[in-house]
C-alpha cells in the first residue's frame, strides 16, 4: 500500500495543482495569437554572432560551475543550442569552456552533433569544447585566460555561477566584449547587471528558449508558468492576510 509521507502531502497536492494550471493555461493560450513583451537582449544575440563572424573572432560560451543536475546549467545548455545554430549559420568559431565533467561531455556532444548535422564535421576541432577545471578558481583563471588570449567578440555566460562570475565578467568588460549573462543566483545578479550588456534575470533563464522561438506554439507555452506564478502570489497574499488576522489555517494546511 502506497502512503503519502506526512508533512509532504500538501506539497504533492500543490505541485499537481500548479502543474495542471500551467498545462491548462498553455493549452488555452495556444488557441490564441499571442505576442510577447520580449526579453531585452535576446534579439541581439544573432547580430552579435554575425559581427563576431565578420570580425573573424570567436564566440565564447560557458555554462558556469554547476553540474548536469542544476536547472541553471540545463537552461544555459538550451541557450547554447541556439548559439551553436547561429554560429554555424554565420560561420563564427565557437569556444565552449566547462567546469563540470559531465557538462563537458554533453556540450561536446551538442557542438559536434550540430556540426555533423550541418555537414561541417571537418570544421569541428577538439579545442572548441574545453574542460578547464572542476576547481572554482582554477576554472575562473582558465576562462579569464581564454578571454584575454583568444579575444572572442562575444562572451555568453549563462548558467550557475558563484564568486567566479565577477572575475569572468570584469575580464570580458576589460577586453570590451559584448557580454550576455544569465543566472538565478541573486548574490551574483548585481554583478551581472553591472558588467553585462544584457542579463537574463532569474526565471528569464528558463523561458529564454520560448522567447527565442518564432513559433507561436512555443510562445503560448510561456503563459503556463505565469499561471503558476499567479497561483503562488495568490497563496502568498492569502497566507499574509490570514496570518495578519491571526488565522494560521493556511500554514496548517501547507504543513500537512
Amino acid at each position: 500500500m502506497i502512503e503519502l509521507i506526512p508533512g509532504r502531502t500538501s506539497q504533492a497536492v500543490l505541485l499537481i495543482i500548479v502543474l495542471v494550471a500551467i498545462y491548462e493555461a498553455s493549452r488555452i493560450a495556444s488557441k490564441r495569437k499571442l505576442k510577447t513583451r520580449g526579453i531585452p537582449g535576446l534579439d541581439r544575440i544573432d547580430g552579435w554572432i554575425e559581427e563576431a563572424a565578420k570580425l573573424k573572432r570567436p564566440v565564447f560560451f560557458t555554462p558556469g560551475t554547476g553540474g548536469i543536475t542544476d536547472p541553471d546549467t540545463l537552461a544555459g545548455l538550451a541557450l547554447l543550442g541556439y548559439i551553436i545554430d547561429h554560429c554555424l549559420e554565420h560561420g563564427a568559431k565557437l569556444i565552449v569552456a566547462n567546469s563540470d565533467l559531465q557538462v563537458q561531455q554533453m556540450t561536446e556532444d551538442m557542438v559536434k552533433g550540430a556540426y555533423i548535422k550541418a555537414g561541417k564535421e571537418k570544421e569541428f576541432t577538439a579545442d572548441m569544447v574545453r574542460y578547464v577545471s572542476t576547481r572554482q578558481f582554477a576554472y575562473a583563471a582558465g576562462v579569464m585566460g581564454i578571454l584575454r588570449r583568444e579575444k572572442p567578440a562575444v562572451n555568453f555566460f549563462v548558467g550557475l555561477f558563484q564568486a567566479e562570475a565577477l572575475q569572468i565578467a570584469e575580464t570580458g568588460r576589460t577586453e570590451a566584449l559584448y557580454q550576455f549573462g544569465g543566472t538565478t543566483n541573486t548574490d551574483q545578479l548585481p554583478f551581472f547587471m553591472t558588467t553585462c550588456d544584457q542579463t537574463l534575470i532569474g526565471e528569464e533563464l528558463y523561458t529564454a528558449q520560448g522567447y527565442l522561438s518564432s513559433d507561436p506554439d512555443a510562445i503560448s507555452k510561456l503563459v503556463g508558468p505565469d499561471a503558476g506564478k499567479i497561483l503562488a502570489i495568490l497563496l502568498i497574499l492569502a497566507g499574509a492576510l490570514l496570518l495578519t488576522f491571526g488565522n494560521s489555517f493556511l500554514v496548517y494546511l501547507l504543513g500537512l
Binding site: 502512503e3 509521507i5 502543474l19 565533467l101 576541432t125 553591472t194 533563464l205
Partner: protein
Amino acid sequence: MAEEKKKMSRGDLGLQIIIFGLGFFYAIVYYIAVPGVNLQGVSDELLTYITAVLTAAFAIGVINLTRVHWINIKRKRATWMFSVILLICLYSMLIFSLIASPFALDPNATVIPSSVIQFSTPIWEFLYYKILVNINSSIFSLLAFFIASAAYRAFRARSVEATILLVAGLLVILGQTPIADVIWPGFSAIRDWILAFPNTAGQRGILLAAALGIIVFSVRRLIRYDW
C-alpha cells in the same frame, strides 16, 4: 516535436523510458512511502552510481585537456609554452597524488615501494599546500579588485535607477562602518531597513519566479514535452 518523435529509434525510445523512469522515481520517492520497502534507501543507493560515472568522467577531462593542449604544442600556437607548463603540472600532480596524497592508491606500500612513497610525500605536500592552495587563494583575492571596479561602474549616477542604487549602496556601506553610529545613529537603522525590506523583497521576487521556472523546466525536461 512531432518530427523528433518520428525519428526516434527503438534504442532512443528505450533510453528515454529509462531516463523518465529514473527521474520520476527520484521525484516520487520524496512524496510517497511503501511500508516494508525502503524506497529512500534504493534512491540513495542508486545515487552512488553517480560516483562511478563521475570517476569515468574524470578520465574524459584529463583526455580533453591533454588533447587540446597537445594540439597547441604540436601546431606551435602563440601560447604553446603555457600548454607545456599545464601538461607538466597536470601529470606531475596526478602522479604524486596517486602515490602520496590522502587518496593514494597504495597507502600501505603493498605494491609501491615505501621509499617511493616517502620520497613523493614531501613533493606532493609542497605542490598541494605551497603552490595549489596559495594560487587558489590568490585568484580568489583578485575578487576584491574586480568588485571595486564593478562598484565604480555601477555607482555612476547616469540615470534615476543608477542614482537610487548609488544612494542605497552608499547608505549600506556607511551603515557598515563603525564611524557611522558616531556621526549619526540612524545610519545603522537605514542600512538594516534597506537590507531587510527593499533588498529582501526584490530577492524573494526573483527566487519565487525562479523556483516556479525550475518546476516547469524540470517537468518539461523529464517528460520531453514542450509546454
